[in-house]
Amino acid sequence: MNDFLQIPMLQVLPFGKDIGWALLLIPLLPLAGFLLLGLFGRKHIKNSSGIIGTSLLLVSTVLSLYTAYGYFFEYGKVNGVYQKLIPLQYTWLQFSPGLSIDMGIILDPISVMMLVVVSFISLMVHIYSLAYMKGEDRFPTYYAFLGLFTFSMLGLVMASNIFQMYIFWELVGISSFLLIGYYYDRPSAVAACKKAFIVTRFADLGFLIGILILSFYAGTLDFNTLIQRLTSSSAPEFQTAVASSFLGVSALTWALVLVFIGGAGKSAMFPLHVWLPDAMEGPTPVSALIHAATMVVAGVFLVARLFPVFSMSPPALQVVSYVGVISALFAAVIACTQTDIKRVLAYSTISQIGFMMFSLGVSGSGGENGLGFTASMFHLFTHAMFKALLFLGAGAVIHFIHSNEMKDMGGLRKYLPITHITFLIACLAISGVPPFAGFFSKEEILLAAYHHNAIIYWIALITSGLTAFYMFRLYFSIFWNKEAPSPLERAGGEVHGEGGFAMMMPLVLLAVGAAVAGFIPFGNFVSSDGKLLESAFHLQFSIAPVALGLAGIFAAMWLYKKQNNKPDAIAASLNGFYKAAYHKFYMDELYLFITKKILFNLIGRPAAWFDKNVVDGMVNMTGNTTQAISEKIKGFQSGKVQQYAIYFLAGVIGLAVLFIYIWK
């Protein structure tokens, strides 16, 4: 440990002594797993690669929990305020004395919380995949990719420098690409991973421009310094950022909106949400990890990290909140009509992240105003639990039935008891039924919205009712509706087991989390200014959301518990609207139109023509000209002696004239 301090350029600030090495190991262990399994997995350690990946991640999780315990209970708090600590910092690329890309680790409430979330959920997915992906041909590659993803996500949450976060952001994008396209021989999977990558990359352009503008005005890329300089009204950087404006909007707002665009792409907010449903082509544990619990919350995390700066620009916060709430409602409506269970869960994710986003958007900063911030982070924490649980449970169902469609399922509660119970717990949690976790987090979000913006409150209320409805629609269609699922009927009643211990254990653990996590006094740990936030419990306030949730549940039960034709009748009566919702409001078609007709034809084709004819043409012309000239010059070597002699004489006469008359 003493050697660490002597490495040049590695600046170890206070608290670096003991925890520095532990912190570094947290992301590096999965990276080691990636390298080891990626390079040697196929040939040498095919069968044990799952165990290796999982055990590396187990160590990483233990270290994260240890760090969290230490931070929240031992040294993180100074005078009642949680500090932002930087145990390790390494100056990597220095552009100018103040501006440099550093690689550092920052510890503050949200990053420590995310460490716990990411490593724990990743561990659950690793364990689950031991059974789910058994027998896959590229088993080691799968675990290698999972390790890469975990490394990137952990690096992202621990980044102390905004550019470092961007680097890990892109790495996360790559890992997601690799994992979605895991079944690369399926054209639909290939198309899906391309779409995911392109949409998020396109959003990252906004992120990059936002970074550049922010760092230009703040003069630094380091998070702490940047936040300091851009949040105090007296700082010169802040004043120039607010004073300079473009199209009537201040530069600070532009930068923040652009950064938010990057976050919106990664978090699948409207209108950049189109990649998430298609991303369900990947294996189900991957969907649990990436598209439920970790990667899609990266956008929320980004806004939370830059929240002090966001709170200085009310227009930016308004953009955040409206985009969030629109996404929530939009996705909830579509989720009511989908029949593929993974698609339902994907739209549910979009909706819930919309909740997190608008909760941040309506939040003020400091004290009681900062409730939205705490609520958003709390919802992130609990959502990770129950959404991962939902996906893994869906994976167990798919594993059993070998199909994704709801019409193939029904009455599975007899065959998959543990899955059934855990799935029910998760659905109750997401619907906001007390005393499960979702109730507490959602109630805080609605409270924050109520205090700040009435429109958003009402839309959020309606959305939470819809959430309860479609989640229980899903639940009843899988586990109740019919008496026995049709494939089993067809197969003559032959069944195989529910899935091994490796698949059930994560489900149970996550269910426990979903059940009790609500009781954690989150305000004690995470709040917008580091101070303690008393989460008040307003009983009369919670009546409305809970009542709406229960109404949704009963509506779903009435429609779906027993097999009947009431759903079809309702769908027929809402005909046009239902069809639009079923087709996801034609967003994909719109995108395809824009890219194919407009981008390709108007921009792509002329550019290609220009490149082929003008640029290549010039190069070809140079070659052709040289060849033509050389053909002409070739004539000098004709083999005719007399011609040579003539040239000789001409040369002599020319030289003689030159010397006699011209050059005296």
């Binding site: 070597q637 083999g639 007399q642 002699a645 004489l649």
Partner: protein
């Protein structure tokens, strides 16, 4: 007018360029050789003329001319040998037929 140096030089220059013209124009190898002999003779004339009119105290021009004649004889012999050889392979002594050494 008394013929003097300039006249001789005129003759030698004219003869030289007549030989050059013949060398460029003629297609037969033997006539080309004849033109070359004319050139050499003009040079000889030039030397002797300078010797007589500018440096009568030395005989260097004379000796040079003697050597030139000797060398011209040797060169004519070798040229004839080459022409005979060429005639054997091409069955023609047209210089246009001997243009294999081209691009």
């Amino acid at each position: 007018m008394e013929p003097g140096l300039y006249h001789l030089l005129f003759i030698s220059a004219a003869l030289f360029f007549i030989g050059v013209y013949g060398f460029f124009t003629r297609r037969n190898l033997i006539t080309m050789l004849m033109s070359v002999e004319l050139v050499l003779n003009s040079v000889n004339l030039n030397f002797i003329a300078f010797n007589k009119y500018l440096w009568p105290n030395k005989l260097d021009g004379l000796f040079f001319s003697i050597f030139v004649i000797a060398i011209a004889a040797a060169e004519a012999a070798v040229a004839i040998a080459i022409i005979i050889n060429l005639y054997r392979s091409h069955h023609s002594i047209d210089v246009e037929n001997a243009e294999e050494m081209k691009f």
